[in-house]
């Protein structure tokens, strides 16, 4: 097998491994295995969901001086803080646990100039069955950077674009 073929095979294996990582993290979160999920993230992860607003196409208002603000603006420590809260046993909104199911799709994996890093686009749909008879559906686009460290792909950066200008649920006790 030539070097060229070797590279192509490795690329295909990376794509498979990254897709698996996306599905695996969805399942870990559905199962509330938050610590295992955190283990699949890089030490220097940046996990963000910016506040946005719907504006007219013609609106040329300058950007806000301090920026938009973020619904999530999390380092690894802050993700750990959220997990600590969720696992404390005192988050009444999650007891009894809600049925939560994530569907990940539209996966697109793009090599970057850094050999060990891939840019990954995906769409996530989160279905939450909450308090008797209430169901909520959240949709978001994601743009990630995944980094290969010692044969494992770790989430290093995630920019989440929530497709709801008004959040349609009473809380966002979920990771996207």
């Amino acid at each position: 097998m030539g070097i060229q073929e070797n590279h192509e095979l490795q690329h295909l294996l990376d794509l498979r491994a990254l897709e698996d990582a996306l599905y695996r993290e969805a399942r870990l979160l559905d199962e509330e295995r938050f610590t295992d999920w955190l283990d699949q993230t890089a030490e220097d992860i940046i996990y963000r969901m910016a506040l946005t607003s719907r504006r007219f196409r013609k609106d040329r208002a300058p950007p806000l001086v301090l920026g938009s603000g973020y619904i999530f603006n999390d380092t690894r420590d802050r993700l750990a803080l959220r997990i600590k809260r969720l696992q404390s046993g005192y988050v009444w909104a999650e007891d009894p646990p809600n049925f939560v199911r994530r569907v990940v799709s539209n996966v697109e994996i793009v090599p970057t100039s850094v050999a060990a890093e891939m840019q990954v686009y995906s769409v996530i749909s989160i279905h939450r069955s909450r308090i008797d008879s209430q169901a909520r559906s959240l949709i978001a686009g994601r743009e990630d950077c995944w980094r290969k460290v010692e044969h494992r792909w770790l989430l290093a950066r995630r920019e989440i674009r929530l497709d709801h200008s008004t959040v349609p649920d009473t809380n966002l006790n979920v990771f996207f």
Binding site: M49, L66, G69, R78, K84, R85, L86, G89, T170, N171
Partner: protein, 331 residues
Amino acid sequence: MPLEKEAYFGEIDRSKHGLVPVAQVQSYKGLIFGNFDPDAPSLVDYLGDVKWYLDVWLDAMPGGTSLVGETQKIDFPTNWKFPVENVCGDGYHLGWAHHAAMQAVQTMDLAGLRAGNADASGLDMGMSVAGLNGHMVLAALDGQSGYAFYPNPKPFVDYLEANRSKVVERLGAVRAQKLWGSQLNITIFPNLQLLPGLNWFRVYHPKGPGKVEQWTWAMTENDMPNDIKGMILDNQCLTFGPAGLFDNDDGDNLAACTEQSRGWRTAQMDLYTHMALGHSARREGFPGDIATGLVSEHNQRYFYRRWQELTGAASWKDVPSYNLNRLASEG
């Protein structure tokens, strides 16, 4: 107007079909209010003595205040009065509803903030202020507890101490030392609330029975350095944004209260809001009817009383006006 002649046959009287003018538009120190009722009281009269407390946020520093960041919008299936009463006198639910969040983020150990269902220490560290035409204030009195839920309160405490003498000059010693920097919950009846300290500003838009759209912004004093303003926006989102560690406890409580009150049997019963009934008085140096502590239903009673006064009145003439225990200087 497109096709005015052809489609309307020139018969429409445009002067009768314009936008309805807002009868009164008035502002108070940067807050702009509109009212469709020409007979409503003026804004200054409507606010009454709650202005004395509002100024602790709006007018402590010469530069005034700003709302920062995008609007944070969230839909709650709740009656609009529940989030208002939850915040207007919110000391009782803190230790229980937000136990997990407080454990996760609280960085200043202040007795007044410890009071919860099980811990009675510090119960008397603040006050509940009402008797102001339906407006209400909940106030700690230590001059710094507003920043107890920031990862690093030091820059805020430094800012407060560097500027406190200036605030004494502007607002006097009582407000500058007891209120500025303290955790404050201010409610402007019926649906506007602001929390200096945690620094959020919120309007509840009722959208029909059992539906509210909650709009929140972070707020800053314009004299604050930019890095402090940035920390406020970040921490406000972390604690009371759509994925806020505190706000994510409240939403489900409010929805559940609404849902459980809908049943026929429950609707036959009165709401019990008697906590600390008969335990309020004048307090030297502060306007309003004041109950001791952050834990009481004193403010909720005045909130529902105002609601009853307004829904029971045929016109503004029938609506009583009261600003209890006015300060002599406010006359």
